[in-house]
């Protein structure tokens, strides 16, 4: 019986070993090697790639990545919570609304990001309409800044926040909200004292699902942020492509992973204390 159980995880374990553990090991080894003249890596082993990361320039990039991911996560939470609450209380229409939430996944993320460029750029739809209505004279600078990146991230990752929130809210016993009102709590007190605390597993799961990919994003920041908003994802990408500094790119991605892991572990520890 136990052997059979092990068989069940065999496919997933194999795939993870081949596609995650092995590449991770390669990245780790590369990060400790010396840069080759035309890309690639050479001997000898060194820690120099990691010491280079101490440069304030890279510190600023890492810091910017963290706050943009944090702001995007917070905005997702603020937008997703009322939406998830609405869907959880929609009775038989729940499934319709849920499919609308995941509808954007039917189109490639890249295409959807290009669509945002079309909307936001100086000659884009929004600026053109506003100009033709004579509401503005010069086009609003809506593209190629941190705001555009945050907008793109919120748009792209909103469903990842909605779904776990919905899952916890939907399971919440409606009698608890009734009990709260019965004991004299006004609706917003019930929300703050009962619904949100009981939804914390969903809030935590959704925040992790949004924050981690936002931290490592590079398509959104590349297309919507332009050259001004370099995030750590773009740094890694540059090192492996134009800069041809694979060991440093590997070190940067290890650093990114370390930051993400540290934040996750601290969030989880706090979560366990609550339970």
């Amino acid at each position: 019986m136990k052997r059979l159980r092990r068989l069940f995880i065999a496919p997933a374990a194999t795939i993870l070993a081949v596609t995650l553990a092995a590449p991770l090991a390669i990245v780790l080894i590369y990060s400790l090697m010396t840069r080759g003249a035309y890309g690639g890596v050479e001997h000898p082993f060194t820690l120099e790639n990691f010491t280079r990361l101490y440069d304030p320039l890279y510190g600023a990039i890492l810091w910017r990545s963290c706050w943009i991911a944090a702001v995007a996560t917070a905005l997702c939470l603020v937008i997703a919570f009322p939406l998830a609450l609405f869907i959880a209380r929609s009775g038989p229409k729940k499934n319709l609304y849920l499919s609308l939430v995941i509808l954007p996944f039917w189109t490639s993320f890249l295409i959807r990001t290009y669509a945002w460029m079309f909307l936001l750029r100086d000659t884009g739809l929004i600026n053109t309409v506003l100009q033709s209505l004579h509401l503005i004279h010069d086009p609003l600078p809506m593209l190629y800044n941190s705001g555009a990146v945050i907008l793109g991230l919120v748009y792209g990752f909103l469903p990842f926040m909605v779904l776990p929130l919905y899952a916890t809210l939907e399971r919440l016993d409606p009698a608890l909200a009734e009990a709260s009102a019965d004991l004299g709590a006004r609706p917003w007190q019930t929300l703050w004292r009962v619904t949100i605390p009981l939804c914390s597993p969903g809030i935590r799961a959704g925040s992790i699902l949004v924050f981690v990919p936002c931290l490592g994003t590079y398509i959104t920041s590349d297309l919507l942020g332009g050259s001004k908003t370099i995030l750590i994802g773009n740094l890694v990408q540059n090192q492996f492509t134009s800069a041809r500094d694979w060991p440093f790119g590997a070190a940067a991605s290890i650093a990114l992973m370390a930051v993400a892991m540290a934040l996750l572990l601290s969030a989880r520890k706090r979560g366990e204390e609550m339970l």
Binding site: E178, A179, A181, D182, L183, R186, Q189, R193, L198
Partner: protein, 319 residues
């Protein structure tokens, strides 16, 4: 009905497919233990929810302590509910649950009020436990404490014993009745269990299909039921010649008497001090008699017997 703390006047509630409650009129006397008794789906829980404020009546009025409350939200009504599964807040301790209402209503002296109510329900030592760490009986007492600490005009209890195991249920009945007497708060108790209603209540309103069929003391509704439904819902009932007869009203003897009817025993069940004797009359009607087992030879299946009863024990109904 003298001093009614809670009054329902012609209250009706329709749901999409059916009338849940139709034209219910009730008066709950101050300080009484009042039960709404009926089978599931009879509208008793909907009635309770309208009093608590979770449902709005389509018609009729609800008056609490002299003022009309049927349009007020739950948090503005001075009634509190003990929910069927208690609905304790799982993220709060026992103390947190009990304090919840006091904090929302901004009461003073929270500490001492919580302490005294926890003492009352014998939970003083468990105030820092989480609900998940409590037994079913303890959870029920937390639910009671959480409501009683607010001194509601009426405490609404929605089948609060149904989640307990049967052993505990009988014990809690006595405790609950005792608690009600001590705190002097009016209890409105919803149940489908006639034994619960009979043993605890000062007054019982028997509900069926959305209407109140009869309101009275336990003895009145049992001994003088107004409708066939009330007669058969409370206790066992035999139907002979369209008259209702309680099993304890039937006498069984081996010799014929005045106005007795011959019958044949089909089965008998020994229950200690009493015995249930099932017999078939010549008309083919079968009935159950409850007789004392006082040492005589027991009635056995196949025995020819004679049944008789007092005419005054016959219950007749128009509906």
């Amino acid at each position: 009905m003298g001093d009614a703390i809670l009054e329902l006047r012609g209250v009706s509630k329709r749901f999409a497919s059916h009338a849940a409650v139709s034209n219910v009129t009730l008066g709950v006397p101050r300080g009484s233990f009042f039960s709404l008794l009926g089978p599931s789906g009879c509208g008793k829980t909907t009635t309770l929810r309208m009093i608590a404020g979770f449902e709005t009546p389509d018609q009729g009025e609800i008056h609490l302590n002299g003022s009309r409350i049927d349009a007020l939200p739950p948090y503005r009504r001075n009634v509190n509910t003990v929910f069927q599964n208690y609905a304790l807040f799982p993220h709060l301790t026992v103390r947190g649950n009990v304090e919840f209402g006091l904090r929302r209503k901004g009461f003073d002296g929270i500490e001492t009020r919580v302490q005294s109510v926890l003492d009352q329900v014998r939970l003083a030592g468990k105030s820092s436990r989480m609900p998940a760490q409590l037994s079913g009986g303890e959870r029920q007492r937390v639910a009671l404490a959480r409501s009683l600490v607010l001194h509601p005009d009426v405490l609404l209890l929605d089948e609060p014993l149904s989640a307990l195991d049967p052993q505990l249920r009988k014990q809690v009945r006595a405790e609950l009745k005792d608690l009600q007497r001590r705190v002097g708060i009016t209890f409105l108790f919803v149940t489908h269990d006639q034994e619960e209603a009979l043993s605890m209540s000062d007054l019982i309103a028997v509900m069926n299909a959305g209407s109140v069929e009869q309101t009275g003391t336990p003895e009145e509704v049992y001994r003088r039921p107004k409708t066939r439904f009330v007669a058969s819902f409370l206790g066992a009932m035999n139907w002979i010649n369209n008259c209702g007869l309680r099993p304890e009203a039937l006498r069984v003897s081996r010799t014929p008497g005045v106005d007795s009817r011959p019958a044949v025993v089909t089965s008998s069940t020994f229950l200690g001090p009493i015995m249930h004797v099932e017999a078939t009359l010549e008309t083919g009607e079968s009935c159950t008699a409850q007789v004392f087992t006082n040492g005589g030879s027991p009635f056995l299946p196949g025995d020819s017997v004679h049944l008789c009863w007092n005419l005054s024990d016959e219950l007749r109904f128009d509906r």
